[in-house]
């Protein structure tokens, strides 16, 4: 019963993720693409819940759907895209690009299927994911202290860079 329900959730979420992702890259209007990308990101947050990563699910909704997507929609409204929506949506090399990407997909799928049994290696190291937020906090502030500080510096540089790039006169 439990595994049947888990499988059902996984397949429903996967169908939503892949369907919304395909709609994201095929819509002519950029605003429609952004809305479908929001649907993809929320489905991925559901998948994180399914994987017992509750903190990441919350971060995904707050940061991606609440922050990054608002930034995207803001720029789409700021940049006048009405003429762009009437032109052709795909560039001239789309057929070659599609073939190359499909070859990549077939290759990845083939190797995942061939190597699926290899995922049984060293099942677990005896850890646990139980108090999820607490464990991530311990990892971030103790084991990954230096990368955490570098990430804060990266965000500072990104804020300054975005402001300087979008400014009219420097």
């Amino acid at each position: 019963m439990n595994t049947v329900l888990e499988g059902l959730f996984f397949y429903i979420l996967s169908a939503m993720i892949l369907g919304s992702a395909v709609l994201t890259i095929t819509r002519r209007n950029a605003v429609h693409s952004a809305i479908w990308l929001v649907s993809t990101l929320i489905s991925i947050a559901g998948l994180y819940l399914h994987l017992h990563a509750e903190f990441l699910a919350a971060v995904q909704v707050l940061l991606y759907v609440g922050g990054i997507m608002v930034l995207f929609l803001f720029v789409i409204m700021l940049v006048n895209l009405d003429e762009a929506a009437k032109e052709r949506a795909f560039n001239k090399q789309w057929s070659v690009a599609l073939i190359a990407a499909l070859v990549l997909m077939a290759e990845l799928g083939y190797f995942v299927i061939r190597g699926a049994s290899a995922f049984q290696f060293g099942q677990s190291s005896g850890g646990s994911l139980a108090p999820n937020t607490q464990l991530i906090a311990m990892a971030l502030y103790r084991d990954y202290m230096l990368p955490f500080e570098i990430a804060s510096l990266l965000l500072l540089v990104a804020i300054l860079g975005a402001v300087i790039l979008a400014k009219k006169q420097i």
Partner: protein, 102 residues
């Protein structure tokens, strides 16, 4: 229905990655190319979290947090570049931006 293994998640992640690659290579609109990059980064995150559950170790989720931070920084700088580009060239189509091509 069979049990959901780590291989299922890796397969889903590979499919999402390929969809993102198709978006980057075929679309003309620069904003949608940036959205496809977000799809690729999310495919990476699914992989990290799936293996974090596989090994019962929280390190994968900590790395996923760093990937999300990178995605936010990349989106902010990328959209700033798009605004500067639209101000100078009045276009957001990737194949019309060929100043460095000869």
């Amino acid at each position: 229905m069979t049990e959901i293994t780590t291989a299922h998640y890796v397969f889903l992640s590979a499919a999402l990655f390929s969809i993102g690659v198709i978006g980057v290579l075929t679309r003309r609109n620069v904003v949608i190319i940036l959205m496809s990059i977000e799809l690729i980064l999310n495919a990476v995150n699914i992989n990290l979290v799936a293996f974090s559950k596989h090994f019962l170790s929280v390190n994968g989720q900590a790395f996923a947090v760093f990937v999300i931070v990178d995605a936010a920084a990349e989106a902010a700088v990328g959209l700033g570049i798009i605004i500067a580009l639209f101000r100078n060239k009045e276009t957001v189509n990737a194949d019309e931006i060929d100043l460095m091509k000869w």
